[in-house]
């Protein structure tokens, strides 16, 4: 098997002492940020993105993998202990996980989550290793029309399927797409929307937008709420941090089912890991109702195990989709794509040919990151909980300082700092009114791809729009998209009528 051989070479690249240190550092930092209340893995990646530019690409991405998965681990730790999920994908874990913690089984809950995340992530990494090269080879035949269909798919799926309000999701998407058009147009060399300001000729930096929307806007949001919301009560992790044989046997099928649900979702761009986590949770609840003694509502170990496995399985295969297709399906993946671009690398079919060392080292580092995370999370969860002792004012003051640091360090100009502040305020307004921010990020990242492929397709056909549906791949993509939208509309109507009854 060629994949195994390449993966082994990748391990060779990833397991150098320096790279091991970056994985470890990434895992520690990611977990630390994920653990902090209200902060999720996308904020961890956004804050650390500018820091990694001091490293060489391989080390930077290996560190990223650690941060990304570390953020997820930390996030579910806090979802369980404090009932404060940092992002939507950890919400499903709070229901049963937090009940387990309240019930005095915090340590077992953390172990269930960590092992579930490990199983899901590992399985996903194996799948990616074997399928990503095939996916990349297949998508190498894609032309402009196919890429436009793919981008449109990601846009519609993330903005309307995942968010509660399609209008708000689309508004967020349009803002992102619009921001991406600022700067010099790549096809014709025309200045667009720059107001003649030289700092804007290169466009608005993705780093600035990412940090503004995901970190600074979040700080403003916390500022608006911190003195008004009663504080959540921290749970003290106590008891044995391992699972008994019976508990393990109880959780095992849920881990497996969760992983199976999560895997395909990383490749279908329906946005982030929240859909599969909720699906996995729901499936376990339905199964639980049929048992002689239902455990849901009283801290069910299965209700925690399944969404954790599903979430990490999706995250893993999402990285595969990012590498093979260049298609980010979540805000975090969008930031990773931005990082690739900073190094002049374009994820997608050609990456496997052009930078095989990087790709395979990155894939190998997924495995390493999983193992490292299991080691630092299982026994030390109670130490992580100590981070909660930082008083919130200092915590957020520190985060704000890092926002400024990151953006100034990458751009070296005060103009970007003012831009950061302005977009941060916009991000806060969006957050305050329940507008999802992931579509903005995805619009910003995929906007240029969508625009150039649309224009290239139309240019080559002399303005004939039928070229957009000219091949079976585009028809297939639009067909699936239509199906997904119809299913969403149906489930929304069903849930609305149920509410009325």
């Amino acid at each position: 098997m060629e994949s195994i051989e390449l993966l082994l070479q990748g391990f060779g690249g990833a397991l150098t002492p320096a790279n091991l240190m970056w994985v470890l550092l990434g895992c520690l930092l990611g977990t630390a940020v994920g653990v902090l209340p209200g902060l999720g893995s996308s904020m961890a990646v956004a804050l650390l993105l500018p820091m990694t530019f001091a490293l060489d690409p391989t080390a930077a991405f290996i560190m990223f993998a650690g941060v990304y998965f570390g953020g997820l681990f930390g996030d579910s730790t806090m979802a369980i202990l404090m009932n404060t999920p940092g992002q939507a994908s950890a919400i499903a874990s709070t229901f049963e996980g937090h009940r387990m913690a309240k019930d005095g089984r915090a340590a077992q809950a953390l172990a269930t989550a960590a092992i579930g995340a490990f199983i899901g992530g590992m399985t996903a990494a194996v799948v990616v290793v074997f399928l990503a090269p095939q996916l990349a080879a297949w998508s190498a035949n894609f032309g402009s029309a196919e890429f436009f269909a793919l981008a449109l798919f990601a846009f519609v799926a993330t903005s309307s399927v995942v968010s509660d309000s399609a209008v708000k999701g689309l508004a967020s998407l349009v803002l992102g797409l619009g921001i991406a058009t600022v700067g010099i147009d790549a096809t014709s060399g025309t200045e667009r929307g720059t107001l003649g300001v030289p700092e804007m000729f290169d466009g608005i930096s993705l780093v600035t937008v990412t940090v503004a929307v995901l970190a600074l806007g979040e700080v403003f949001h916390m500022a608006a709420r911190i003195r008004r919301d009663p504080h959540a009560v921290a749970m003290r992790p106590s008891g044995r941090p391992w699972l008994s044989g019976a508990e393990f046997r109880e959780a095992a099928p849920a881990w497996a089912r969760g992983t199976a649900i999560g895997l395909p979702f990383g490749v279908i761009p329906v946005g982030g890991a929240e859909v599969p986590t909720f699906m996995a949770y729901d499936l376990e609840r339905r199964l639980d109702r049929r048992r002689a003694r239902p455990t849901f509502g009283r801290g069910s170990i299965r209700g925690l195990a399944a969404p954790e496995a599903a979430g990490n399985a999706t995250t893993g295969t999402a990285m595969g989709a990012l590498l093979a297709l260049g298609l980010p399906v979540s805000a975090t993946a969008a930031i990773m794509l931005a990082a690739f671009r900073q190094y002049g690398l374009q994820p997608g079919p050609l990456l496997f040919d052009r930078a095989p060392d990087l790709v395979w080292s990155l894939l190998a580092s997924f495995f390493v990151a999983m193992v490292v995370l299991l080691i630092i999370n299982l026994p030390f969860a109670r130490i992580w909980a100590k981070l909660l002792l930082i008083p919130p004012p200092y915590l957020y003051a520190g985060i704000t300082m890092f926002c400024g640091l990151g953006v100034y360090a990458t751009s070296g100009s005060r103009f970007d700092l003012f831009m950061l502040l302005g977009i941060g305020i916009v991000g806060f307004v969006l957050r305050r009114h329940g507008v999802p921010l992931a579509p903005l990020m995805i619009g910003m990242v995929l906007g240029p791809l969508a625009e150039t492929s649309l224009r290239d397709a139309l240019l080559s056909s002399n303005g004939d729009y039928s070229v957009l549906v000219g091949s079976w791949i585009t028809l297939l993509l639009y067909g699936v998209l239509l199906l997904v939208v119809l299913l969403t509309v149906r489930s929304k109507i069903v849930s609305r009528t149920r509410k009325d009854v």
Binding site: M51, A54, R99, K102, S165, V167, A171, V174, L175, L177, G178, T181, D185, T187, S188, G189, T190, R192, G193, T194, L195, V219, F220, A223, A224, I226, R228, D229, P230, R298, P392, P393, Y394, Y396, A397, G398, T400, M401, F402, G404, L405, Y408, G412, R414, L417, F418, L421, G424, V426, V429, L430, R432, H433, G434, E451, L454, R455, L458, L459, G463
Partner: protein, 195 residues
């Protein structure tokens, strides 16, 4: 065994024996809050309109080179403007038909506020960042970042200004040492650098 659901905000408020008058006052107050109550989301529609005006200005002033084939550089922004305006109309309709009143969590001391967001706190943070951006290159990283830290901590409710000054300077110096000296990132030394 108690019921599986935890204490709701209401029951915990009763346990703490909070005098109810403030709460009932809110109840009667909501009716008189006027048009804007729950409709502040209209600012989203305003944002979309402002953004599309910006794009329109960009399209109008764009200098497209001669002989550019369809679709030119203005093609994509034009689509965005149309979609943004349609979304703005839909947002206005949404907020007119169904105002979104955020759930105000029961505050421990039973206080209520006129606005959902704590604008004083936000203003401290925004002002801090603005000053930081303004003075960074002149004051240098250590002083400007300490200023930022102090403002945000203050805005977030810290009530120990003197201790905060020390902590802020400690933090900004630590960051400077780690990133400017350690990782060779480009941070301004400011006028302190000349000494």
């Amino acid at each position: 065994m108690s019921s599986p659901t935890g204490p709701t905000p209401e029951t915990s408020a009763q346990l703490q024996d909070v005098p109810p008058p403030v709460r009932t006052a809110v109840g009667t107050d909501t009716a008189d809050r006027g048009f804007w109550h729950g409709r502040s989301g209209l600012v989203l529609a305003a944002l979309m309109v402002a953004f599309s005006l910006y794009l329109v200005y960009g399209i109008v002033t764009m200098e497209v080179p001669e002989g550019t084939d369809f679709p030119g550089p203005a093609f994509f922004p034009t689509i965005l403007v149309v979609v943004a305006l349609v979304l703005a109309v839909l947002l206005v309709l949404h907020y007119l038909r169904s105002p979104e009143v955020p759930e105000a969590p029961a505050s421990p001391d039973g206080r209520t506020w006129r606005t959902h967001s704590d604008w004083t706190s936000v203003a401290w943070c925004v002002a801090g960042f603005f000053l930081f951006a303004l003075t960074l290159e002149w004051l240098g990283w250590i002083l400007a970042a300490a200023l930022l830290f102090w403002f945000v901590a203050r805005g977030m409710g810290s009530r120990r200004p003197v201790f905060d000054v020390t902590l802020a300077l400690l933090m900004s110096s630590a960051v400077y040492l780690a990133f400017a000296e350690g990782l060779q990132l480009n941070l301004p030394a400011g006028f302190l650098g000349g000494i």
